[in-house]
């Protein structure tokens, strides 16, 4: 029987109340609890105090404001998956949320909790890194904005300090952008063997799309800040075609640092990074072309790329 060690429990009644409770040492925020409680059972986490923020409805929202998609830290994974707005401006969120844990866990696990857990195999870190999102960290003296690429300091370690709370994640919405997430896991609900998120901004003449900006996030393969910076750099200004994307995949695979574990050997993971990067870029390009603005719609080599992951996503092959 797995039981957490002794802990005090406090329920926050407002964000201000939460911040005041969190100023005590050795305190952890309890949101969905689906990472923290298992870690407490294994005594990998032994906080003295839990601050339950589940009652803070003011942190549970998904909205468009100021040219950004703004996601409250307490939005549940299922909320993001069910959000037509999120799916429209950033289909990468729907791709990723469909493969985060399982449907029951997604009802409780939170978007902010996933980021704050900072697990190297966690999906949303790479997604937000690819989208160049900004984390809004609230403290008693106000908010500070930290790019998600600088938010995660290392495994299980973030920029959120004592007395602070991740309040919101902001994702800049830029016209001409397409996005996608590709994950390989051993079974439904499992952590990634490897996964890749891509956010592409296209420009150029009709029929000859050019990459104006690329964000590539890598999950579970030891990429610094969860990104493939060299591949992003390579793509800027290049033709948005299958050849560029394949080369970008090879670059991403060469610059990450996967380790062999029960999910597979290092070379297999590098192979996945190369292939999934190319696939995610192709799908992202196809979606950018299909979007509302005038970037080139053809020639991105993405015919039918949107069709291979729709529907139930293979969930029928459950354990």
């Amino acid at each position: 029987m797995q039981v957490p060690s002794h802990v005090e429990y406090e329920r926050a009644t407002s964000v201000e109340h939460a911040l005041s409770l969190l100023s005590r040492p050795d305190t952890r925020v309890l949101a969905g609890g689906h990472s923290l409680i298992p870690m407490m059972k294994l005594r990998l986490a032994q906080p003295e105090v839990l601050v339950d923020i589940n009652g803070l409805a003011e942190l549970a929202y998904i909205k468009l404001a100021g040219g950004e998609l703004r996601i409250g830290a307490l939005a549940r994974h299922a909320d993001l998956l069910d959000s037509a707005l999120a799916g429209e401006v950033f289909p990468i969120f729907h791709d990723a949320e469909r493969v985060v844990a399982d449907p029951i866990v997604r009802l409780w696990g939170t978007v902010g909790g996933s980021l704050c857990q900072a697990d190297p195999s966690e999906d949303l870190s790479a997604v937000f890194a690819a989208a160049r999102a900004i984390a809004v960290i609230r403290g008693r003296r106000g908010d500070r904005m930290v790019p998600v690429r600088e938010f995660i300091l290392g495994p299980y370690e973030t920029a959120v300090g004592r007395g602070e709370l991740l309040a919101e994640i902001r994702v800049p919405v830029i016209p001409g952008t397409g996005s996608a997430y590709e994950k390989v896991a051993r079974r439904v609900g499992d952590w990634s063997v490897a996964a890749v998120g891509a956010v592409l901004r296209l420009g150029g003449a009709p029929g000859k799309p050019i990459v104006e900006g690329a964000g590539i996030g890598l999950t579970a393969v030891g990429a610094e800040h969860f990104v493939a910076a060299e591949a992003e750099e390579f793509l800027r200004g290049r033709a948005a075609d299958a050849e560029s994307f394949t080369t970008a995949g090879a670059i991403a695979a060469g610059h990450c640092h996967p380790v062999a574990d029960q999910r597979g050997p290092e070379d297999y993971k590098r192979h996945l990074v190369a292939e999934l990067t190319a696939r995610a870029l192709r799908r992202a390009a196809g979606r950018a072309g299909a979007g509302t603005n005038g970037a080139g719609t053809n020639g991105a080599g993405t015919n039918g790329a949107g069709n291979n992951r729709t529907g139930t996503n293979g969930a029928g092959n459950t354990t």
């Binding site: 039981v3 802990v7 429990y9 689906h34 399982d102 449907p103 029951i104």
Partner: protein
Amino acid sequence: MTIRVAVTVNGTEYARDVEPRLLLIHFLRDELGLTGSHWGCDTSNCGSCVVWLDAKPVKSCTVLAAMADGRSVHTVEGLERDGQLDPVQEGFIECHGLQCGFCTPGMMMTARWLLDRNPDPSEAEIREAISGQICRCTGYENIVRSVRWAAKHSKDAG
């Protein structure tokens, strides 16, 4: 140190003084004697412990009883109404959805929730809904059939 936890379970109010670290599944089984919900893997993988917390399924081995304070919980004991089995329960009987029965309470709570939102789910939708739950008898075929049976025979359906 203990704290007071007051929870409405299947419409009945209960209050107990418990340690904050007590998990909801143990609160239900050991404090309230509601042993219908099963304590399985203890790692939020198997779903045998699924109950509803404020009308949403949750793996109760991964929730503190304290988090349920002031909220409502529904367990498998509450599926039956006025002596009438829920169509999901009848479906599991009709289609042999139980084998050893261990995963059954969690499967049925998820199935009821699915049918409340989607009264006529496809086989793929049922399989996705229960994809976070494990039947170690591997009786998935019959479980899916049971849920389909319930969909067909629900009074609300159609």
